[in-house]
């Protein structure tokens, strides 16, 4: 059957829940009550600190067939996911579903555990490197379920994703389980993703390399959610957690795109005192902040709110008074980690607050502007950030669909060509954000406005920006790079891309290599 994004979706998918086709960004109202963790009581005198990860695995009651989770706040510096899964394998436990908030480059080490059957399925927001390739080409018992950050919280809270045991990489943890992310040798800043798992998993195990006396302050994850604590030598490599201060790119093409995106923000109609924005972590999105700063200073307009994963340059805007408050679900670099530790206007918040479509109003709903990257865009304004041009899973939905749905104006920044591959095409390989939530495409060779947004088109008419139709942009790309030959796909479904409300937006079939 065809869903509302025009994709052919099977009526049923082996190993996946009942298929509900995507019907539009705001078509589903939830019904029922929130799921929750098992009730438990820890009585006075109980010791939570255990001697080893193995001991914690035994104490957690982890059994074959259960679902485990991790958070990705330590990014490419994380040691905990690989460390715990190798301990689980040594314990002989198998058939587990692995449902982290995301995978990163370091998780290539997990491939053998999928091959051996320790892990049999994955649910995630992103996949990278060799693991992404492996899961695209090798059939597991279930397809990989891909969700946005908001969609993951929704799935957990409505009971579609039940986490039996979560193992939380804890940069600082006290002896009774209070956790924060801002102190310790592997400080990562916001614990926004882990906070969800800590309150929703049946069993919560904190893995820390900075075990301190009770009580630690500030507290991101409170003691009453934590079952067990294990001290290890190191939970992560600071060099991989943060590559220092994220610098604004010097790539002239990215700067050119960023400059135009900043001008779109200025002229599109929502650049008014006390506006709200999110900028993605891609080079052109971050650089947009640099040009926007100049515009904000010139026009004496400040933003009341900026959200998302927070890169360092945003913290500079906060310090300058150009942003009122930052709400941070993930701190991207050292600058952001320092800022969230020391600046009370830089707030930590959890992922439901940020992006969950099924609560009484996530922060994304307050956005005027969001600027995000893309791997591909098509003439229906659909965005792909999940698969590469060969159909291999190599990206992450992250908060892309959430912020796009929430914002009044969603701006996508991307070069028109990467090498000779056109980034504006007839149809993206995989839809990760539906075109009806995308408003403006800014490329180095032209800008297209979604025809549904006559208001934006009118506002941008005399801006001097190179506005053209999306078809004209695509033709430009094909004229320069040539029209790529189509990728052949098998019928095997390797991944299911859920929209944030749990409907099926697209499926990822195995490409024939």
């Amino acid at each position: 059957m065809k869903n509302a994004a025009g994709r052919e979706i099977p009526v049923s998918i082996q190993g996946y829940k009942e298929v509900k086709p995507y019907a539009g960004p705001f078509a589903t109202q939830p019904d029922g009550r929130m799921a929750g963790p098992k009730l438990k009581a820890v009585f006075p005198g109980t010791e939570k600190v255990l001697k080893s990860i193995e001991e914690a695995i035994d104490a957690s009651g982890l059994r074959d067939g259960m679902t485990i989770s991790f958070h990705h706040g330590l990014r490419n510096g994380d040691y905990v996911m690989n460390m715990v899964i190798s301990a689980i394998a040594r314990r002989g436990i198998k058939n587990l579903t692995l449902a982290p908030s995301s995978f990163l480059d370091t998780n290539d080490e997990l491939i053998p555990y999928f091959e051996q059957g320790v892990l049999i399925a994955a649910e995630t927001s992103g996949l990278r490197n060799k693991l992404g390739r492996f899961l695209t080409l090798n059939q597991l018992s279930k397809p990989t379920v891909i969700r946005s950050h908001g969609g993951r919280v929704r799935a957990i809270e409505c009971g579609e994703l039940k986490i039996d045991v979560t193992f939380i990489a804890a940069p600082t943890c006290d002896t009774y389980g209070n956790i924060n992310g801002v102190d310790g040798p592997a400080a990562c800043g916001s614990m926004g993703y882990a906070m969800v798992d800590a309150r929703m998993a049946d069993t919560v195990v904190a893995i820390t390399d900075n075990l301190v006396d009770h009580p630690v302050f500030p507290v991101s994850i409170p003691q009453y959610q934590v079952d067990y604590i294990v001290k290890v030598d190191s939970i992560g490599n600071p060099a991989g957690i943060s590559s220092g201060a994220l610098r604004v790119t010097t790539n002239p093409r990215d700067l050119h795109i960023a400059k135009m995106a900043a001008k779109v923000i200025e002229r599109a109609g929502y650049f008014k005192p006390e506006f709200a924005m999110q900028l993605g972590a891609g080079a052109a999105s971050v650089a947009t902040g640099k040009y926007l700063r100049e515009t904000m200073l010139r026009e004496k307009i400040r933003a009341r709110l900026a959200i998302g994963g927070i890169p360092g340059p945003f913290c500079d805007l906060l310090d300058e008074g150009l942003i009122g408050t930052l709400f941070d679900v993930q701190s991207f670099d050292l600058r952001a980690i320092e800022s969230i530790r020391s600046n009370p206007k830089h707030r930590e918040y959890e992922c439901s607050f940020y992006a969950n479509p099924w609560n009484k109003g996530a922060m994304v709903n307050q956005l005027d502007y969001v600027v995000l990257g893309a791997t591909e865009v098509d003439t229906n304004f659909n965005v792909n950030v999940m698969t590469d041009s060969s159909g291999i899973m190599m990206g992450a939905l992250g908060g892309h669909p959430d912020a796009s749905a929430g914002a009044k104006c969603t701006i996508i920044v991307a070069p028109l060509l990467r090498g000779r591959l056109p980034m504006v095409t007839d149809a993206v390989q995989t839809i990760s954000t539906p075109g009806e939530t995308v408003d403006v495409i800014v490329t180095d060779r032209g800008i297209a406005v979604n025809p549904n947004r006559a208001d934006l088109l009118e506002n941008l008419k005399n801006s001097g920006l190179p506005i053209m139709s999306i078809e004209a942009l695509k033709e430009k790309a094909y004229a320069l790079g040539g029209k790529p030959e189509k990728i052949e796909y098998s019928d095997d479904i390797m991944g299911v891309v859920e929209y944030r409300d749990g409907t099926v937006l697209d499926v990822i079939r195995r490409p024939i290599l």
Partner: protein, 91 residues
């Protein structure tokens, strides 16, 4: 009309460029193109055809080409092949 007398190369391994190594071949051997490209499936046959066409336009019927392509556009590919032809012949 060019005649290839030695092996020559042109281009670089930089992004959006192509490195071509062009060598003479025996009369009647035809044009053999070996291509390495990150977008082999999307653009591979087009790039091979373009290389052969550029050689034929210079009057070359027999040659061996090793090309490592890194996202080069057609104009770049043609320019690198033409340069390699000059370097490989006695012009």
């Amino acid at each position: 009309m060019s005649k290839l007398v030695r092996t020559a190369q042109a281009g670089t391994m930089e992004s959006t460029d192509i490195l071509v190594v062009l060598a003479p071949a025996e009369a009647g051997a035809g044009i053999q193109v070996e291509l390495v490209s990150p977008t082999m499936r999307q653009h591979g046959s087009h790039i091979k055809q373009l290389i052969a066409k550029t050689l034929q336009a210079a009057g070359i019927a027999d040659a061996v080409v090793h090309a490592t392509e890194k996202g080069a556009m057609d104009c770049t590919i043609e320019a690198r092949i033409k340069t390699a032809i000059k370097r490989a012949s006695n012009e």
